[in-house]
């Protein structure tokens, strides 16, 4: 393939203004400085994420927590032991007041009792439909 000659011999594209150099380099320097400030946190996160030892450490910590959670009895009631929402109240025996007075924990966790005296002492409201 032969190269056709340029139709305007002797003419050239103009050169940039000499002042452009300082303007461009100043703007580039400012951009680099701004990037160094805002990019520092991102670079730190990147470095931490890329650090293999640190990743292994995180993994070990998570596994250790899971093992502890499974092995150690925290003393809390298992979620499955509670009645389901709306599944009815369950009763707690209160030895000091005998079987006449039974405290009930509703599904929402509110205490109820059938004994009007105890209800009075505890400051509980009468259930709907019950005599005060």
């Amino acid at each position: 393939m032969t190269q056709q000659p340029f139709p305007y011999p002797g003419l050239e594209p103009p050169e940039p203004d000499p002042r452009l150099r300082s303007r461009v380099l100043r703007a580039a320097g400012q951009a680099a400085a701004a990037e160094a400030r805002t990019g520092a946190l991102a670079r730190l996160v990147d470095r931490l994420w890329e650090n293999r030892a640190l990743r292994l450490g995180w993994l070990t910590a998570i596994v250790a927590l899971l093992v502890l959670n499974a092995a150690v009895d925290t003393g809390t009631i298992d979620h499955g032991a509670l009645p389901a929402a709306g599944g009815g109240p369950y009763e707690l025996e209160v030895p000091e007041i005998g079987s006449a007075g039974k405290l009930r924990a509703g599904s929402a966790g509110a205490l109820r009792t059938t004994d009007p005296v105890l209800r009075e002492e505890l400051g509980l409201r009468a259930p709907h439909g019950a005599a005060p």
Binding site: P7, Y8, L11, P13, P14, D17, L20, R21, R23, A34
Partner: protein, 187 residues
């Protein structure tokens, strides 16, 4: 910048290894390398942006944008096979962004060609040549510029413009033919 007459397919004559080294320095955090990159490439980047935008102030903005981007996020030199084409592509993109931002399109305001101070009597003056160039499409002007003033091969022009090599060659050829036709009409 001079009008070059490259043999198609030959590598560009610019200091490619030098640019590679400077980009590596920049990636290593040496901001001084920017000044050297500017000295090596500014004329070419400015010329391309000027031919693309048609306005001197926008061409300057495009060159500034290239160097701001370089400073903000230096490219990995290992991933750049031709640093000159890479920088020209950056300038082209910056110029295209500026043109897109100032819609609707405005007529060319700057001289795209000038006569050197020492030039003898020329057959066509700069204003006429600029008027002719303004009749080309932006992509044709860009291809002509990269071919005749940057001395790039069609493959390299294609890389800069992000088009197939055949398209780059076609743009360049039709651009030159159109200029010749315009000259024939006027003379």
């Amino acid at each position: 910048m001079t009008n070059v007459d490259p043999t198609p397919g030959t590598p560009a004559p610019a200091a490619r290894p030098e640019l590679h080294r400077l980009l590596a320095d920049l990636a290593a955090g040496d901001l001084e390398a920017l000044a050297a990159i500017y000295d090596l490439t500014a004329c070419e980047l400015y010329g391309l942006a000027l031919w693309r935008c048609g306005s001197e102030s926008e061409a300057e903005d495009a060159v500034q944008e290239v160097f701001v981007r370089l400073a903000r996020k230096p490219p990995d030199p290992a991933r750049i096979c031709d640093p000159r084409a890479y920088l020209l592509a950056m300038a082209r993109r910056a110029a295209c962004d500026l043109v897109r931002r100032r819609r609707p399109a405005e007529p060319l305001t700057g001289l795209l060609l000038v006569a050197p101070a020492t030039a003898p009597e020329l057959p066509v003056d700069a204003a006429t040549a600029t008027r002719h160039l303004a009749r080309l499409s932006a992509v044709q002007r860009e291809a002509v510029y990269l071919r005749y003033f940057s001395g790039l091969s069609f493959a390299e022009i294609a890389e800069v413009a992000g088009v197939p090599t055949f398209t780059a060659a076609s743009r360049c050829r039709t651009g030159i033919e159109r200029l010749r036709a315009l000259m024939g009409v006027e003379t």
